[in-house]
Subunit: 297 residues, 2 copies
Amino acid sequence: MIDKLEFILALAREKHFGHAAEACGVTQPTLSAGVKQLEEQMGVLLVNRGSRFQGFTPEGQRVLEWARRIVGDSRTMREEINSLKLGLSGRLRLAAIPTALAMVAALTTPYREKHPNVQFTIYSRTSIEILDLLDNLEIDAGITYLENEPIGRVSNVPLYLEHYCLLTSADAPLGNRDSVTWAEVAQVPLCLLTPDMQNRRIIDRLLKGAGGESRPTLESDSMILLYSHVRTGRWASVMPAKIADTLGLTDTIRAIPITQPKAVQTIGLVVPQREPMTPITAALVAEARRLAPQLSG
Amino acid sequence: MIDKLEFILALAREKHFGHAAEACGVTQPTLSAGVKQLEEQMGVLLVNRGSRFQGFTPEGQRVLEWARRIVGDSRTMREEINSLKLGLSGRLRLAAIPTALAMVAALTTPYREKHPNVQFTIYSRTSIEILDLLDNLEIDAGITYLENEPIGRVSNVPLYLEHYCLLTSADAPLGNRDSVTWAEVAQVPLCLLTPDMQNRRIIDRLLKGAGGESRPTLESDSMILLYSHVRTGRWASVMPAKIADTLGLTDTIRAIPITQPKAVQTIGLVVPQREPMTPITAALVAEARRLAPQLSG
DNA sequence: ATGGCTTGATAGAGACTTTCTATCAATATT
DNA sequence: AATATTGATAGAAAGTCTCTATCAAGCCAT
């Protein structure tokens, strides 16, 4: 029964019988049969088919909702029993927006000291993808923007505030300043994240708000790539202060606070809104609560 | 998997492998094997055995908690899909304390008019048994005292207030009065419910509070039996006003309000504290909310 | 239009699980 | 000590699941 519900979950995210089957580690006929059995048990069609997957029926959508819950609970149960047996162990799956990647270590390091048997898998994802992964039980927690764009059925723990800097060579225009305005930044050719990243959309909005326009010379979904370009001394970028610090500033590269307006975004931990949490997730939330005051200082 | 969890639930309430198996409609070896499989999957003993059932291990108790939740959710899912398919249908299982039995019809009658395909099963139980049945998913809702003794993880809807009357023959001592005190009632030989009923414990407390003692001439767990004795004109009883009204008063039998103190108990609907509720239960809660103002008037 | 490609359904065989009956060992009960 | 109760175990039969192979329907490109 529960494994059939997992089929539904896989189908929801893959939207393809074959791929979903592969994700579940079974063959396509097995998954097809599983879905069909569910449909027979419920006495209702759950999936609209027409020679290909065409989404769920209304009943299928309800079953999907329940499947998230029931499958999630059964996993949580397993994990909880495991923890009782041999302390916290297993794998913590986490996803963070690129600009927050640098601070993840501040969370994982004390966590690992307390719970050395927990393994980590950490993905770099967009804020939208993070919420999707959470919904589909593919990650245990995410680190993303808490405000700004709607987030779903999740609980959150604020971690720190993101302030923006112009990252540029000291001998470039504006390179000698102690602070710059968004209007000034709008005049500089920038390397920015791709528009599927919320960070980029935020920066675009700020630039537009200052009367400028966002026409980045270079886009990437990798902070490392952006930073390595800035390091050449020939490019500039806008980054959160925290990540600029982490990446390290050289003599020639400066991180200049951008004011007017002084834009601030809250970054935090998000976890599925479900009680009780898995022990592994609960420990992460505890760590985040402990850490938040230090980070915001 | 889910059926194995049902085994655990059955075992929790039957405390006996054989009986639990029968309750699940399987043989005892099947249930034993199912539990053993769960234990192997979890990697932990769930049940303490020593030639007989000796309760759950700590891990077993956690699994039991999860089983209630997961099994409950999977049933709710089924019911929800069924309702989507052919409107509200199925069986509403309800338990009420004896003194509330008379008012159940006020709930079931309008319910049935709105949802004619729902069938009812209604048990007369003690308040403690009701909470137990709720925990074990054996009933969908209960009607019982909301205050006075602790109730567990349930949501409630107040329905009406229970006021107490002396039910006695008009020509008996006190039979001509318009109101009596608890101290006076304490002098009369009474027919009361058995002490496993909360109603009896409440009345005992009230009598004791008035300096009297509870030494009922006759005890029974059936309101009908108590009432039939009072009807002979030779016995007296203490009953909630509502049930006395429902049973009907004759010329010779009077229901006399008992004052000093004016004791009042809230009776209400209790349902498992879980979101969302099954559609059948949700409809009952809606009905209860609608009804409460009328009843309390 | 037509041939090739993708997608999901179907059929049938083999492997695996489940569940039953029968029986046993251990403990309670008398 | 004899008997009854309780849950575990063994083995056989039934049932279920999952695989490979194949098919039919739609999609797409020429």
